[in-house]
Amino acid sequence: MDFALLTLGDTGWGDELLRGLVTTVALAVLSYLLGIVLGLIGAFGKLSGRRGIRLLAEGYTTVVRGIPTLVLVFIIFFGLEAAIGSALDAFGYTGQVFLDAFTMGVIAIGLLSGAYSTEAIRGALVAIPAGQIEAARAFGMPPRLIFRRITLPLLLRIALPSLGNVWQLTLKDTSLISVMGLTDLMRQAFVAGNSTREPFTFFLAAALLYLVVSAVTNRLFDVAERRFSRGVRRA
């Protein structure tokens, strides 16, 4: 293995890998945020009193978690543009819809992340003691205020460990978008490995970069978890 290939600058592939890493992290963060939004909607949907909404949310998580992520990515990449196109057709817009690989990647991985976030958030919502909400209502707080002051902080405290797992899963699954040609970390490692004939060196470097990002962000989640659990008495 020739580690000089990993240096920055013209002779090494280090800067290309790092640029790929930036794309990977950006893709992961945006997908994760989209996932949280979908997760909140999905979780409240699953707990909704309306049967139709409940079934819709249930169907979303069952399908997304029931098929391989790679297959989901293929369906989104080959079908989303056409689907949006025909939806816009109904409103009288006949132009072509074009989405780049990054945007479609965010949507595909966001949908995946959202399904897992839904489960994490739903579990936390159910675990919030009813007395807390009752007490807030007894104080005369309107629903929005209750959500901001009572539900959300408790939700974060209970859901953060599982949401941390969802983040790790989201980060790792972004690598699948490289199959569709997005020049993320994985793709750069593939290209570098091909042109230098040292694929092991570059895939190992990519693996270690994923590992470092995962370790660092894990720490951040630990810090956040401690912060949101300040009020909890520990044995």
């Binding site: 978690r65 098929i67 391989p68 989901l72 994923y210």
Partner: protein, 232 residues
């Protein structure tokens, strides 16, 4: 998306791709489970070098994408072809099937070893003391008392792992294997209708997932029968 393409694709996928998908799944699960027990025991052994090596293995395979692991083994090991040929392992790693099995096995071993470790640690101390008091040797205690209790404890998490592994076998298509997802790709390029092809294969995965989940729930229920009151 075209319903007739989907309906044509489903039997084709099942006939020609399902077998390979299930072979990948069950072979790697079986070998992975054996490795997982060994790794869990290594981690709990308390021997400094051994426990650390097991931890490093688990950490690496849990914090890197499975796709990297596939490529590392399939494309990456080609870099060491002369060395591998010298020790006679090249025959093995030349085949995409065995590369996929290796990647899947290591991956599931890493995840499962953590479940088993948690299971072993959850075995109540009194159970082991009682077994020792009955005069069982350490190996017998492990085989008769610790392992069954640990497995029962780890079973719900393991059911989840089985489903995730089913989905992980789809990555074998990226290293040229013609399991269901790979086959769907071929159907996609032949029919010029990738969405239908992948929806078809997605439906099959969905059904297998639901069947697996049902089956595993049943095993979980059976294995905790002694905890329920006897009926009637």
């Amino acid at each position: 998306m075209d319903v007739t393409v989907i309906l044509d694709a489903i039997p084709l996928l099942i006939e020609q791709g399902l077998r390979l998908t299930l072979e990948l799944l069950f072979l790697s699960l079986a070998v992975g489970l054996v490795f997982a027990v060994l790794i869990a025991l290594m981690r709990l052994s308390g021997i400094p070098g051994v426990a650390h090596a097991a931890y490093a293995f688990v950490y690496f395979f849990r914090s890197t994408p499975l796709l990297v692991q596939f490529f590392l083994i399939y494309y990456g090991l080609g870099q060491f072809r002369p060395e591998l040929q010298a020790v006679g392992l090249w025959q093995f790693f030349r085949e995409p099937f065995w590369c996929a099995i290796t990647a899947l096995t290591f991956n599931t071993a890493a995840y499962t070893s953590e479940m088993i470790r948690g299971g072993i640690q959850s075995v109540p101390h009194g159970q082991i003391e009682a077994a020792r008091a009955c005069g069982m040797s350490r190996v017998t205690v492990f085989r008769r008392i610790v392992l069954p209790l640990a497995i029962r404890q780890a079973l719900p998490a393991y059911s989840n792992e089985v489903v995730l592994m089913l989905h992980a076998t789809a990555l074998a298509s990226t290293i040229t294997l013609m399991e269901m997802t790979g086959l769907a790709g071929r159907i996609a390029s032949r029919t010029f209708d990738p969405v239908s092809a992948y929806v078809a294969v997605g439906l099959i995965y969905l059904v297998i997932t639901l069947l697996l989940t049902r089956g595993l729930k049943w095993i979980e229920w059976k294995s905790t029968a002694y905890l329920r009151p006897r009926d009637g």
